[in-house]
Symmetry: C2
Subunit: 171 residues, 2 copies
């Protein structure tokens, strides 16, 4: 494998976390160790149950069971900041070829931690480590240093028809 790149999946459409799950599976299929981190989220979704079956993955969730509605609580901030520190140590351990930081952009958007702290973690990674960041509202500073950016753009969504998230499809 070449030098590790920074990939960003952003935009308002469905498929960002889903693609992150796919990245984890592909990497493990090649025998790579994967660090799969979710900020803001804390539930054991169907995909988490499934990913856990493989010993090559380390899963860390730094969020409460519910998504932040309007304003984050002090608890949200503490969980996310401690999480980012832990992630920094795990990345520096050089055990993981692929690191996924799901909803990291939501965490910076809610100011749970500063974008500078996230950029520091990214920039100080071991050279073979591929980092994948997903979430809406990717800030310009992140886009600028990314090697790959895909915008997942919502063209149509059944949520607009009042359909709720479904087990096995969205969660």
């Amino acid at each position: 494998m070449n030098k590790g790149f920074l990939q960003v999946y952003t935009g308002n459409g469905k498929g960002k976390t889903t693609a992150a799950i796919g990245m984890a599976i592909r990497a493990m299929g090649a025998g790579f160790r994967v660090l799969f981190v979710q900020f803001v989220k804390g539930k054991e979704y169907s995909e988490i149950k499934e990913l856990k079956k493989n010993k090559l993955i380390t899963i860390c969730q730094y969020g409460r069971r519910c998504f932040i509605k309007n304003k984050p609580k002090q608890q949200d901030i503490e969980i996310a900041r401690k999480g980012l520190k832990k992630v920094e140590r795990l990345i520096k351990s050089n055990k993981y070829k692929v690191v996924i930081l799901d909803e990291a952009t939501i965490a910076t958007n809610f100011k749970l931690f500063d974008i500078k702290d996230l950029l520091k973690v990214i920039n100080e990674r071991p050279k073979d480590c591929e980092i994948i960041i997903t979430g809406r509202y990717a800030p310009k500073e992140l886009i600028d240093i990314a090697d790959l950016v895909t915008e997942m753009k919502e063209i149509k969504h059944y949520y607009s028809k009042g359909i709720k998230a479904r087990k096995g499809i969205e969660m």
Copy 2:
């Protein structure tokens, strides 16, 4: 689970097949049977190796080992048409809650089969069956009947810097 929807992931950015893999994992985590079909592709990619470990998935590839470069050969057409017929039977068996048709739009774009034949398969599915279609150039007829469409838009890609597909990351 509600009525099965039709989801389409299209556009020129990285993340479409990757999201399809993620959908398969999420569905299996919820205990659903998944039919994972790849048109045009025929290689045992890292993700295929990994997905195969779960007994809830049926994987079918209807393509040769190499992607079609310019013009499809007669062999490409035959493989794809037979494949679509097989897929139709498998969907009608009503064994699968989630059906993924990766690169189905590439198959119609290369005229390996007609869009009408694909639409027929989609429209005649059992009512609880969710269908996920991925690939560039999703035709208007497909977008029109889809319940969800995400366009994966390339903002930046390292391919443009001459980087080749890497094992565990792209394949």
